[in-house]
Structure formats: C-alpha cells, structure tokens
C-alpha cells in the first residue's frame, strides 16, 4: 500500500502524520509539497493537520483552492482513498469533497484534550479495524471543529452511513451537530476526521486506540 502526505505551508502535524504512517505501515509516505508538479501514484492520500495559510479567510479556505486539490479530487473520483485530519478535514469540506462545514468551537476557544469516539460505521476502509459501537480514546486539538450541515444534508449523510465517528459519552468538545467527529463522502473513500488518531498510536502516547484507522488503510 503506497501513501502520500500532502503538505501546505502552515500545516504542523505533517511530521506526526508521517511518523504514524511509517510506524504502522512500515514504509514512509511520499511527501508532496503543494506546488509539486506531480502527485505520485498512490493508494492513499493524506492531508494532515495544522493551520494552512495561517487560517486566513477561514480554516482550509486557501489550501482548498490550490491547484493540487484538483488533482486530489480527480484521484478521489477514481477511487483513491483520501484522509483529511483536522485542518485536512477543513480543507476537504472547503474543497467541496465532503459535505458540511467546520465552524468555530462553541466555546470559542481552542481545545486540546482527550475525548471518546464511538465508531458509528465500522464498514468503511477507515474504520474496519474497529467494531460498530466500539468506544475508543482519541486526542483533539482544534479551534474550529464544530461540524454543521443543513438539515437535509445531515439527514442524507446519516441515512447513507457517512457518519463514521461520533464524540461519545458526553465528550463532544465543540458543539458539533449529532456529535459528528468524522464523515466520509457518499462513495466512502474520502474521510474527514477532526480528532488526531496519529497522536495515540503507541504505549508512550498512553494508548494505541488510534492505530486502527491507519492499520486498516496501510496493511
């Protein structure tokens, strides 16, 4: 399984993501600078977290309109898997590759802590190492993770099983509708996830609950 991590200026969890992919998948991902002419032929494209372009306009707004996103969109349409974490999720919604938006946290403050996630759909490439209904631990670190979509969109992503992860046990940290923490596109090959599974993959992180997402994709 070949993977690539796409880097925009201002992203800052790229190194965490690269380390996680290498530790779990055994081989390092290709690292693609947003201006590189070519995106290598890979099975998984990852957009990591951070503050691309300093969150100018809105988080993810500028990165979403950069030329490499057209390439990523085209690959996704061909079935290549795309994972966007945190700012990566924001970029994917801004690019129109995932429905809904991520608004400022309800508290209006940045928040970094551990929360609980419930696996709402274990039947995706991103979640098949977990069981439906399983509760896992996961860290979060964001200022704009408050998921919102209009009623019709919300109904349709719920009906289609596109909601893959929800904040569980009262740990919704940001006011997201339906406790949504991670969703896929209708085809199920693009996942946006607000929490940071890459920071909980080894005993020294205090747990390995985040491994499953990568293990399912990389092996």
């Amino acid at each position: 399984m070949k993977s690539a991590v796409v880097v925009f200026p201002g992203l800052n969890r790229d190194r965490d993501m690269i380390a996680a992919i290498e530790k779990i998948g055994g081989t390092p991902p290709a690292i693609v600078w947003h201006k590189d002419a070519e995106l290598p032929d890979v099975d998984l494209i990852v957009i990591p977290g951070g503050f691309s372009y300093g969150d100018a306009l809105r988080p993810g707004a500028i990165a979403a309109r950069s030329p490499i996103m057209d390439v990523i969109r085209e690959r996704a349409e061909r079935g290549v898997k795309v994972l966007g974490v945190c700012n990566g999720f924001q970029i994917l919604t801004e690019a129109g590759m995932l429905p809904g938006v991520l608004m400022r946290n309800a508290s209006l403050r940045f928040v970094c802590r551990e929360i609980k996630l419930k696996v709402a759909n274990a039947n995706t490439a991103f979640s098949n190492r977990y069981a439906d209904g399983q509760i896992i631990r996961c860290p979060i670190a964001h200022h704009d993770g408050n998921y919102f979509a209009d009623a019709e969109t919300l109904q349709s992503i719920e009906d289609n099983g596109q909601v893959v992860f929800r904040y569980a046990e009262g740990t919704n940290p940001n006011g997201s509708l339906n406790d949504i923490a991670g969703i896929t596109n209708a085809a199920g090959n693009v996942l946006g996830l607000m929490p940071h599974p890459e920071n909980l993959i080894e005993p020294e992180h205090g747990g390995e609950d985040g491994r499953g997402i990568f293990a399912g994709l990389l092996t």
Partner: protein, 742 residues
C-alpha cells in the same frame, strides 16, 4: 507621518527616548558631536534596560554559567546544553510583560514568537514550550480580560507554530494588578556540531534580511518596556507588535533548510529594537563594522523613515551574514516559503555602524560602544530588612483548610488554561501540564527524555529575596528530580520593579545572590536569561519574581515517575522530612490564602540536604521502587497528597503525630521534601533496606500513610472524598472565567 532626520535634539526629546541627561552627555563625549535624530533612536534602543542590562549586568556576572555539559552560556540568543549522542537542548525564557498588559493577545503571542525565534535562530527545532503567567487579584476589573487575552495569545501563536506547551505557572496577586508578567520559555533540539551563532565573521560579506516585511509596529517597544507605567498607559498601545505565527512557521522551516546548506555564517533574530539591535550585535560580537542600506529593506508601509525602520519591532524577521557564493541557493529557499530575502548591507572592517537612507548617511556610530560596551551601572542598593518572626498561628479544621486551599485561585487546577494550548503536537509528550514537570521523549532516541519546569514563589522572595532566590532554583530542581530527571541547567527570567530605587535594587542583588548560591551547590548553571525591570505602576512595584525554568535529562524514560497515586495499598513515604514532618508556617499558602496574612520569614533552603534528598529520590525512581513522586511546595503535605489523590483517582489514609499541632504538619512549607509511594511491604526486608539507605544518606523518610479507598483522610480530620477534592480543584477556574468545562 514622516519624520525627518534633521529634527532638533532637545532635552525633552532626549528624555522621551528614555535617556538620562548623563547618558546623553556620554553620547556627546563618545561621538564628539550632536547625534542625528536616527542616531538618538539607535542609542535609545541599544542603551535601554531591556537590551543593555545596564542595571543588572554587574550582578548577573556573578551567576554560575558553565559546566561540563554547557556548550553556550548567556550572551547568545539562547543557552545550549549537551544531552549526549551528539545532541543539544537549546533554551531560554524571556518576558513580554509590558506589551501583554497593554494588549494581552498580541503581547503574549509575540512573546511566544520571540522566544521560539531565539531558539531556532541557533539551528534548533523547537520541541517544548512553557509559560509563567502572573496576574492581578481575581477581583480586579482587568484580570479576567487579561487572563482571557494572554492565554488565547499564547495558544494562538504556539498552537499554530506547532510546539507543544508542556508546563508553566499561573498565579494571581494584587501586586500584579498594574503589571502582569508573561514569561515565555522555549526549548529546541539541535545537533551539537550544527549550532548557529550571532557573531559575524569576514569582511565585505553580505548582510541579508529574511522573513516578514518591516512596518511601523513596535517602534520604541524596547524603550517602553524599560519604563514604569503611569496613567497614560493606553497611549502606549501602538508600541505593541502584531504576531503572525504562519510567517514564523515558514521562517522556521526556511531557516532550518538554509542552515542545512552551509550558507549561514552568522544569524540573529530581530527582536527588541529590531534591525538596530540585530545588526549591532552581529557586528560588535564579531569585531566588525556593519553598513546598512535602508532603501533595500522590504517594507510594508509607505514613506517609512530611517528612524522608523531602525526602531521597528515588526515580528518574524531575521538578519544573517551569508557565504556570498550560496546566495542564489538561499534566495530560492526563501522564495519557496514565500518569504522576503534581501541583501541590505555588508560587513566592514572599520568598527562603525553606518546607516544609509535615500543616498544620505543617517547614522555613523562606533559599534562596540553601542553594543557590548554599553553603559553599566552599579546602582545603590540596600539589603531588605529581615521579616519579623511569625506571631500566633491561626487555626482551622484541617479538612476545611484543605478544601479551601485546593479550590482557591492560586491552587486550583489550571486545566482551563492548558487545554487552550496544544500539549500533544509532535507526538512526543510523555507528561503534559499538571505534573511536577513536563516531559517529552527525544524523538528518534529509544530511551532518552527531557523534563521541563518553571518555578518561583514571589512571596518568599518579597519576604527574603536571598532565600526566595535559592528556593526558586531549588523548587525547579526538585520538580525535575520528581520525574526522574537529572537536572542539567536553567534559564532565569528576573522580573522586578524600578532598579533606581535602592530597596528594589536590593531585592535584585539579593535574589541573584540566592540564585547563584543554589545553582552552584546543585550544579545547575544558568545558561540564558532575561531581565525585566520597571514593572511598576504609579510607584507600586510587583512582587520580586525571579522565574527559574530548568531542563532535566531522563536517560531511560522507562524509569521515570509521575505525581499520581499509582495503586491501592502502597506505603507513602515523606522523603527528606524533618522529625515532626512539617513545621514552617511563615509565608505559607495556609496563612495567605485562608487568612489573608503575608507574614513571617519564608522557609530556609538547606542546599546540602536538597542534594541528598534529590539523589535519594532519583535512586528510588531509577531502581523502579518509586511508583509515584511529588515535590512538596506551597500548601505543604496536605496539598501535595490531595494532588496525588486527584491525579490518581485514588484516596489515602495518612497518620498524624501524637501531641503535635496538625496544622504545621499538614500545611508547613519546609523545603527539601518529596512524597514517594513505593511498591514494598512496609514490614519487609526491602523496606528496612530502604530506610537504612536513607539513614546512611542522613535523611529521614517516615512512612506516613497508605494509598487506597475513595477518600483522603488526614490524621484526625474528617475524610474528604476524592470526588469532592476533584470538584473543588477543577471548579475554580471555569467558575471564575464564567464558562462551563466543556
């Protein structure tokens, strides 16, 4: 606004630049003529307290700054300490007090930005940050606004930049009502053979400007930071800079990429007094002159004058001396990251600092006298009076006192604050805020980890600056030890009032003497630091606050310790205790936070005892005997036990001594003590062996209780459930800031 260079120099103008008449006379003697307006600005920037340390230098020189692991002590952008395997930790702490009071978000944010830049200027990638914050009393009208803005600013910058905040301090006291303290610490990792310095080498080499463009923000900031506040404080807002962490993050990546090419001869970040300070320092240190052509400086505002460009404190800028043959390669890296790159001058051999603007020479000054030979004062000082002995001790029920303290402004959980900081980024955090010290693993190394702690008790320092200075160093050292780290070195951030008052100068002198004595005894050198004076408003000074931030090395992170009770039924030892466990109530949290009394002398620090107790505790951790360790500081045994219980979600039953007043036992602040839980049978041979070892080391390590249950019971006092402790502990901050814990 356009300022000409031929403005007449009047005594008022000199005074407005923070220069005393005798300092102006020194300028006249030095250059043999009246300075130009731009030159006056340059002198003002270089000779202010913030940049020149003119009041404190004499005393700072007495601090121990070297040791077998010290690669670079004070005088560079940051200190550098060897951690083995060809790697070094590069760190410093710096204040941004005055700007943060005026404009809390940007003041704090640019404080974080400045200290991160100090670290990566030396070639190190930042891996940990801390911040020590001190605010006015909670009820003061400005305090909530300042807390909210400062915390958001620290987070806003550090989170975007991408460095984990692993520790810090937050305290409240009315003495900070008019002058809050924002002390920011950063540490980075570098290879010992790839450290970069600010000393320029070689004549005729290009001086290159990198990073963000220059604007009018922050003009005169360093001078502002060297003056007391009066009622015109709000007029100073334009002197605060505006931070852009996105640019800083790109600057970090671009600088590290550039350094890897071998193009960099010398590098200096533009912090206080911007272009002036960075150019003069690079030249003066290298015994070279510098010539600048301001027409080539990238600017973001029109019609800027030479004066404004030289004094601008626009953020995220660097100055470098480069190998000329690598210039094209260097330019390409900065263009890739979308940053400015401009050759703005050259090094010369005439030891002059010459500045050209629109074809005219606007400054021509002797560079050494501007920089490392700036004026220095031996200010008059008086030794502070020793505090009166403590009178009769007021009494309170032990359980009520504990609940009162743990739910009070200065002892409650700081979760509301640190959850606004990214504590996990980089994936190496082993202990995040809430422990005795923050701990990160050394990426790429199988066993090593680094510990960081920042400490000072300003009330101890006010009562007795010498003992208080000693105590600040020692508490920091103990906090590192409590995680299992060997303390390596420290940085000091000395915050005081107006040094022109002999009683304040006395605090500075005595605190530095105390810090020096403790650092020498504990082999804990000061490798970098910062001095912030004139923290006064309308003649009222802050509490003397010499913040000490230390770094420790854990050789094997599998053998480290946390401050949470680990398991049921484990004996609790009070390592380093005096015969009656605790006795010292002067300047205690018990008196101050429960009775409003700041009385008596602070606890004395016995450095010989500290060393023994620290070594003993390190031994217990490394041998895997200790299951939890916590340094005792303010609030004494009761608060220490409560914190371990809350963090472990586990209660304990603790004895009290017969016929001894339980208040000093549980709330005394005697130094040199650690709470240690062990996985040994209290009646077994191993425990007897442990006590023998303690005795041989000259230490008392009484077995004071046992972990277990869901409540904490202190002697005869009623048991308090861990849940109730937790509620009190976690409740204060969110309640105060008027928000729920979400």
């Amino acid at each position: 606004m356009t300022l000409r260079n031929d403005i007449e120099i009047t005594p008022e103008l000199v005074a407005d630049h923070g220069l005393k008449p005798e300092e102006y006379q020194k300028i006249l003697d030095l250059i043999g003529r009246e300075p130009t307006f731009t030159e006056l600005g340059i002198f003002s920037a270089m000779w202010n307290e913030h940049c020149s340390y003119k009041s404190s230098k004499k005393w700072l020189r007495t601090l121990p700054t070297s040791g077998p692991r010290v690669i670079q002590g004070p005088g560079e952008n940051a200190g550098v300490v060897d951690i083995g395997d060809g790697q070094a930790i590069v760190f410093k702490m710096e204040s941004h007090n005055h700007p943060s009071f005026i404009e809390p978000y940007q003041g704090a944010a640019t404080g974080v930005g400045g200290i991160l830049r100090d670290v990566f200027t030396m070639g190190a990638r930042p891996v940990a940050a801390m911040n020590a914050l001190r605010f006015g009393e909670p009820d003061h009208e400005k305090t909530r606004h300042l807390v909210s803005g400062v915390v958001a600013g620290v987070g806003g910058y550090g989170n975007s930049f991408g460095v984990p905040t692993v520790g810090g301090e937050v305290q409240f006291d009315r003495r900070y009502n008019g002058n809050i303290l924002v002390n920011a610490f950063a540490a980075g990792l570098a290879d010992t053979d790839k450290i970069f310095y600010s000393k320029a080498k070689g004549v005729g080499l290009p001086v290159v400007y990198l990073g963000a463009k220059t604007g009018r923000d922050g003009v005169g900031g360093a001078t502002m930071a060297s003056a007391e506040f009066g009622d015109d404080i709000d007029e100073k807002r334009p002197t605060v800079q505006v931070g852009d962490p996105f640019t800083e993050k790109r600057l970090l990546e671009a600088c590290l990429e550039l350094m890897a090419t071998g193009a960099v001869i010398a590098i200096q970040d533009m912090g206080a007094a911007g272009l002036t300070c960075s150019a003069v320092e690079m030249g003066a240190k290298g015994d070279l002159g510098i010539e600048l052509d301001l027409d080539t400086v990238p600017v973001r505002e029109e019609r800027m004058t030479a004066y404004e460009m030289m004094l601008s404190e626009s953020q995220e800028r660097m100055l470098m001396v480069l190998h000329p043959e690598k210039e094209a390669e260097a330019r390409a890296i900065f263009e890739k990251w979308g940053l400015d790159f401009a050759t703005v001058g050259k090094t010369t051999d005439d030891l002059r600092f010459r500045v050209f603007f629109e074809g005219e020479e606007v400054a021509n000054l002797p560079i050494k006298e501007l920089g490392d030979e700036a004026p220095e004062y031996d200010r008059p000082w008086v030794e502070p009076a020793k505090p009166a002995p403590l009178g009769e001790l007021p009494h309170m029920d032990v359980a009520d006192a504990l609940l009162g303290l743990i739910g009070s402004a200065n002892h409650a959980s700081r979760r509301w604050v640190y959850e606004q900081y990214d504590t996990l980024i980089q994936g190496n955090s082993l202990q995040t805020p809430g422990g005795d010290a923050g701990v990160i693993r050394v990426e790429g190394h199988a066993q090593k980890a680094l510990a960081f702690s920042s400490d000072v008790n300003p009330h101890y320092c006010e009562a007795d600056p010498f003992e208080g200075g000693k105590q600040a160093v020692t508490e920091c050292w103990r906090n590192l030890v409590a995680t299992g780290a060997e303390p390596l070195a420290a940085t000091d951030n000395l915050n005081f009032g107006n040094p022109e008052r002999p009683e304040i100068m006395g605090q500075i002198v005595m605190a530095i003497k105390g810090i020096g004595e403790a650092c020498r005894a504990l082999d804990f050198p000061i490798v970098s630091g910062n001095v912030s004076l004139y923290n006064e408003t309308n003649g009222q000074g802050i509490l003397p606050t010499p913040t000490i931030a230390g770094v420790g090395l854990i050789e094997d992170r599998a053998k480290s310790a946390r401050n949470a009770f680990a398991a049921e039924g484990q004996p609790i030892l009070l390592v380093g205790a005096p015969a009656i466990w605790g006795s010292h109530m002067g300047q205690s949290a018990y008196l101050r936070d429960l009775f409003g009394r700041n009385e008596g002398p602070p606890p004395a620090v016995n450095l010989d005892h500290e060393k023994k107790a620290g070594q003993f505790v390190l031994g217990l951790i490394r041998e895997g005997i200790a299951t939890a360790v916590h340094d005792l500081s303010d609030g004494g045994l009761a608060l220490g036990l409560a914190e371990m219980a809350i963090k472990g979600g586990l209660g304990a039953t603790v004895n009290q001594l017969n016929d001894i007043d339980p208040v000093p036992t549980f709330f005394g602040e005697d130094q040199g003590r650690y709470l240690v839980t062990v996985n040994l049978d209290p009646q077994g041979d191993e425990m007897r062996a442990l006590w023998k070892r303690a005795e041989a080391a000259g230490l008392f390590a009484p077995w004071i209780g046992v972990t277990g249950g869901d409540a904490l019971k202190l002697g005869e006092a009623r048991a308090i459930s861990v849940e109730q402790l937790q509620e009190a502990y976690e409740g204060w901050f969110p309640g105060y800031m008027g928000a729920t814990v979400n």
